[in-house]
Symmetry: C2
């Protein structure tokens, strides 16, 4: 899986737990850091710091400005991320291994990431 972020960007992502149903990643970077393109499955992200990031995919991008201590839904997507703020990004991703029973609609509660055209 070449697009797995722990393979493409091991300096930022590490696996802190895994079983049959989930995998949990810890992400940590510094201001100015950028990831390469990678893919997330449907995931819950929980923020351990406040941060500002630019998520980009296929020429589209979206800036995400989040406080510490919030949970957001990251629907399965490919993107790269850049820390464009003044603080470290420290976050936990809980990846769901099972496919969604029905597709989630962009714009549904907590949807995070560039919207399709």
């Amino acid at each position: 899986m070449q697009s797995d972020p722990v393979v493409t960007n091991p300096q930022f992502y590490r696996v802190i737990f895994e079983n049959e149903r989930v995998r949990v990643l810890e992400y940590l970077d510094r201001p100015g850091d950028e990831t390469t393109q990678h893919r997330h499955p449907d995931s819950v992200m929980f923020t351990l710091t406040a941060f500002t990031r630019r998520l980009s995919t296929g020429g589209r991008s979206i800036d995400v400005d989040l406080p510490e201590g919030v949970a957001r839904w990251l629907p399965a997507q490919e993107h790269s991320g850049a820390n464009i703020g003044e603080t470290a990004t420290h976050a936990i991703f809980v990846e769901l291994k099972e496919p969604a029973p029905a597709p989630l609609v962009p714009g549904s509660p907590g949807y995070l990431g560039p919207l399709p055209d």
Copy 2:
């Protein structure tokens, strides 16, 4: 759902995110605090503080001593919890709404909670 911890123990549990696939709870208490009996679905717990707790169900109990910043699997279970340490318990629960495709075996990686007889 009378055994939902946000119903039975709203002083400790609150919903910080919910969609079709997951619900995310924040738990916060102080040393000496105790919950009543409640039920968790299959969940990932992530610790925001180090803490020591006693989980009890049906006359069995297990003491859990965890550092800050770790993820553990909480298989669906009913229990009560008591903060038997010297620190607040602050943790995030990511509850999975879908049933497990196959039952998880007590004792599998990260299994947290009293073991069945």
